[in-house]
């Protein structure tokens, strides 16, 4: 399969701290690549670099065949769902979709399509500030999918949201993947590993690649080691 993302020896320093220290991996077309790590491991930093939002110190990142340092053309074919709220707070739901569609030069038909798929019709006139976390996340996904991207980069896609919104988002993700899309998801809950094809475990600025089963086993081993150390039976 064709590689969609090629990350080579990526280093990112923020102030004096080295957040990413020689990260290398490849993601192939149609793959669900999970980026696992505890809080502060550098998942968001890495995802923002992949999406072309942040610059990096050294190394190389090739997204959809483009060197992200030299060209932003890949952005026409990517979608980003951020961990923190990043929609336009001064606009309502529909205006956000309309504005982002205009920025991405997307046809208006796509707006109504994502509205239906993510069940946003009843929230169209509501200011995004007033949306509950689940609906907000549905809107974020809708905005990311407006341009029918080839690559979806999502940070904590369904963490801490209501079950119904989670169901809608996962259904939409399945649809996206079944149409040939590639997804890179960052998360800090080990249970989400089950939904991935491969897992990149970020720790201490380095990445280790696992199968989902291996990643869960590795997590269990760490928990067990900690339990033995403390003489408790933590889960």
């Amino acid at each position: 399969m064709e590689p969609v993302l090629i990350v080579t020896d990526l280093v990112q320093k923020v102030g004096k701290k080295t957040v990413l220290n020689g990260v290398s991996f490849t993601v192939h077309a149609g793959e669900r690549f999970g980026l696992f790590g505890v809080k502060g491991a550098g998942k968001t930093t890495l995802l923002h670099i992949l999406a072309g939002v942040d610059r990096f110190t050294s190394g190389s990142v090739e997204t959809l065949g483009y060197d992200v340092r030299k060209s932003g053309a890949f952005k026409k074919h990517t979608g980003l769902v951020t961990q923190k709220r990043s929609l336009f707070e001064d606009l309502n739901t529909y205006e956000n979709l309309d504005f982002i569609a205009a920025l991405k030069c997307v046809d208006k038909d796509n707006i109504f399509s994502v509205i239906d798929r993510l069940e946003l019709r009843e929230y169209l006139n509501k200011p995004v500030k007033s949306l509950e976390a689940g609906v907000y996340q549905r809107l974020s996904v809708a905005c990311a999918l407006l341009n029918d991207p080839d690559l979806l980069i999502a940070d904590e896609l369904i963490n801490g949201i209501d079950i119904y919104s989670r169901h809608i988002i996962l259904k939409e993700l399945e649809r996206f993947l079944s149409n040939g899309g590639t997804c890179v998801r960052g998360y800090s809950d080990i249970r989400f590993c089950e939904q991935m094809c491969r897992v990149g475990w970020l720790e201490g600025g380095k990445i280790t690649l696992y199968t989902p089963v291996e990643a869960i086993e590795q997590w269990d081993r760490q928990i067990q080691a900690l339990s033995c150390q403390n003489g408790t039976d933590d889960d």
């Binding site: 072309g52 939002v53 979608g79 951020t82 990043s86 707070e89 001064d90 504005f99 205009a102 920025l103």
Partner: protein, 374 residues
Amino acid sequence: MAIMGREFTYMWRDRELRNILLVGPLLGLLLFYATYSVQALTDIPTAVADLDRSTASRELTDYIGSAENLNIVACPNSFEEVEELIKKGKIVVGVVIPENYGKNVSLRRQARVEMIVDGSNMIYATNATGAVLSVTRSVGAKAGVQSLIAKGVHPDQAIGAYQSISFREEPWFNPTLNYAYFVVLALALNFWQQCCTIAACMNIIGETGVGSWRQLKAAGVSKLRLFFCKSAIQICTFMLIVCPIYALSFTVFKLPVHCSFGELFLFNLAFVIALHSVGTLASSIAPNAVDATRFGMIVALPSFIVSGYTWPLEAMPGFVQQLAKIVPHTWFFQGINYLTFKNPGWHFMVHFYLAFFLIAVACYGAATIFTCRK
């Protein structure tokens, strides 16, 4: 167009910003016009202490009372009482006619009349001094003529001697020295430029300092395109809100204007672009929106004072003069004064435009460098 539309929506929906931009400058204009509506200081409260109580001293008191700008509000009996009235702010001008005033005048001896002006308020003091001077000049001349007549000089010759050199005062451009003509428009424009500075200071940090900056970056929008569109809308808005100020000033309040609307519009546009560039620079350097506003206000607040509008630039220390010249406000307020009162023509005004151009190029250039790093 989408970026422009969203910028306009943002400015309109931000209730505080909308009120500041739409209501602030107009309210300022109304307030300043109301403040200076009397246009010149008349009826300056005056006290005359007549310690002589002679015919001559009563004549002098009547003369002072009939002076155009002086209004006798008290007749104290001693110098100490005059002093007390000035201290309490009851009077601005105090006149003390000494004992033997009438006798000295009739004997053609020197008579010394004390005229005290409260200097604690410069504006009042300047006007009061002017009014007192016109009285003393007339009284002095009258006494001189009488003295010459007493020495046997023919009355016509005596009068002629005092009028041989005629000084005709003729204030041009503001013949009645109307204070409202001088300050109302400038103060309203000062208010307006401060409001515009606040808005311009949000230009870059208003985007880069919030979460939606990631959406803009992820969408691959060019920063140049984004900020050019935003700036265009902001500049148009600033120009739109200054129009009612001029319309009210020139049509309702009848403030003087000697240049054409086109010249005024062009001059304002050049200033707005330069002003916007300063705000944009502040907004590109600042780490957050609050600091951006602080930076902008550091420039906008004192700029009117150091612009040379109310106190001549030439009378300021050299370094202040140089400092004043690097902010567009100095060129704007000086230029507005020239355009509204004198309209000196394009050849004179061209260096004002050049200053705006250089400031805009420098500030937008620096802002671009800072923004490219974000």
